[in-house]
Symmetry: C2
Subunit: 275 residues, 2 copies
């Protein structure tokens, strides 16, 4: 993805940011980076098209550009038995789907809270955040016809947890693992990111209210998602935590701590890894 050319998703009725337009971003770099650094994505779909009641499942989603494909897609990983991965029959598809291959409508959302924002009034309280929403159509990859793309997606998802983990675990997957894994591929129809990074914003009349400004502390509290000390499993037989894992924990925490706690996090990491 590093050498992927940045481009812009089309703005449609479903993905255009209407409130605070200045916070809206439609470029692939913004959308993909938010989805691909989120440990969990929330995935929504409608199980029964005759009843507009959506279901949300927490899943792992990663966006990547499979070699030879025209554009990047989102890949969602799961088990054959879950509701989301049951093969859809033509009758369960929406009326406006032309044929089964078009897939079913799906929405993927990922959100990172950056700061709690405490203002003079509850009304002005907020978060600084980075969120992405992807609208698309999903279909299952075929274990035989799409074998290479399934392997590609499994590696994308595994390395999305810890970089280089695929090469450092027992790979490639065997036949029974492939058979029990399903990858849902989501063709991205539209997408948007919304980023708020403006901290405390007060109403002018509140700033003139001395009773408020003299008594209410205002500011931000950074919300930091860090990785802790790796703990070996009871069945682990490798003595030391490998370098690529140490490097990832350090890099993750340094990036996560950029908003206000970087120095402290670095000290914390030094005390763990002795550097």
């Amino acid at each position: 993805m590093a050498n992927e050319e940045n481009h812009v998703y089309p703005q449609t009725a479903s993905n255009t940011i209407k409130r605070h337009r200045e916070r809206g971003h439609y470029d692939t770099e913004a959308v993909h980076s938010i989805v691909n650094t989120a440990p969990v994505a929330h995935v929504s779909f409608v199980p029964d098209p005759s009843n507009p009641a959506p279901v949300i499942l927490p899943m792992i989603a990663r966006i990547g550009h499979f070699s030879g494909a025209e554009e990047a897609s989102a890949y969602i990983h799961g088990y054959v038995s879950t509701l989301l991965f049951r093969p859809r029959t033509a009758s369960s598809l929406p009326a406006n789907a032309t044929h089964e291959e078009e897939g079913f409508p799906i929405c993927i959302a990922a959100t990172k809270i950056v700061n709690l924002v405490l203002s003079l009034t509850p009304f002005s309280h907020s978060y600084d955040y980075r969120s992405a929403v992807v609208h698309g159509h999903a279909s299952l990859l075929d274990p035989e016809a799409d074998h290479e793309e399934i392997i590609y997606a499994m590696q994308l998802i595994t390395d999305g947890m810890v970089p280089q983990r695929w090469a450092n675990s027992r790979t490639p997957p065997n036949a029974s693992e492939i058979a029990a894994t399903r990858i849902l591929k989501v063709r991205i129809d539209s997408a948007s990111a919304k980023i708020r990074d403006s901290g405390v914003k007060e109403e002018a009349k509140d700033l003139k209210n001395a009773a408020a400004t003299n008594n209410v502390w205002t500011g931000i509290i950074p919300y930091v998602e860090m990785l802790g000390v790796p703990l070996p499993a009871p069945t682990n037989k490798v003595a030391a935590v490998p370098q690529y894992i140490q490097d990832h924990v350090r890099a993750h925490n340094e990036a996560a701590g950029a908003d206000g706690v970087k120095g402290l996090i670095s000290k914390l990491v030094s005390s763990v890894f002795g550097r």
Copy 2:
């Protein structure tokens, strides 16, 4: 909520955990505690009932029991102009809604990643996590008829960011703030929590594979969501960070660090607040 009696949500087709039934929980304590400690909830609904394409919005959701109500509801906070809060007309309601007051179907999900779980094979990689999914019907509270419940929900949401913040900010809201705020009340039809806390789980045949066990480090990496050092806003006029905020940061971080980094987090907090 502390003195709320624990009870169990009905198990229906939409909320019953089918894979890993042992991870399923249906009691209000499990569901409410996950939703009420999540900084963000993902909220899904179907804007156009004739097209089963769901939309997800990241929102703040809190579950609480308004005085006099028969049971707890979820409250979602937002602005009048967002898609979700546009008053629904009878024609935009699903065909199975008997009348407008029943509200529209909505799904709320909140997820906390607890550990990254690194096993011998990519197939066995996982997370330890706590997630909750709530299915319900949503309707807007009426600024006049439901004034007291709106104030209750605003306080619930504000104190959900930092306890005691409502009492320590400029309250109560004035008329224009009330007019510009909408609270969506969600009657909870069913709900479930799913909790995985089993760490590394290997296939028996992988544990017998010496080439794998001798080379692949396995274990967990705690995923810790901590609060950083509070930073005053440029417009802040209160000299010291108030005690209730210091107490919350410390309590949050001690609870968050329980899985493997508690000692380090305590040291970190001591170095910030000098105790």
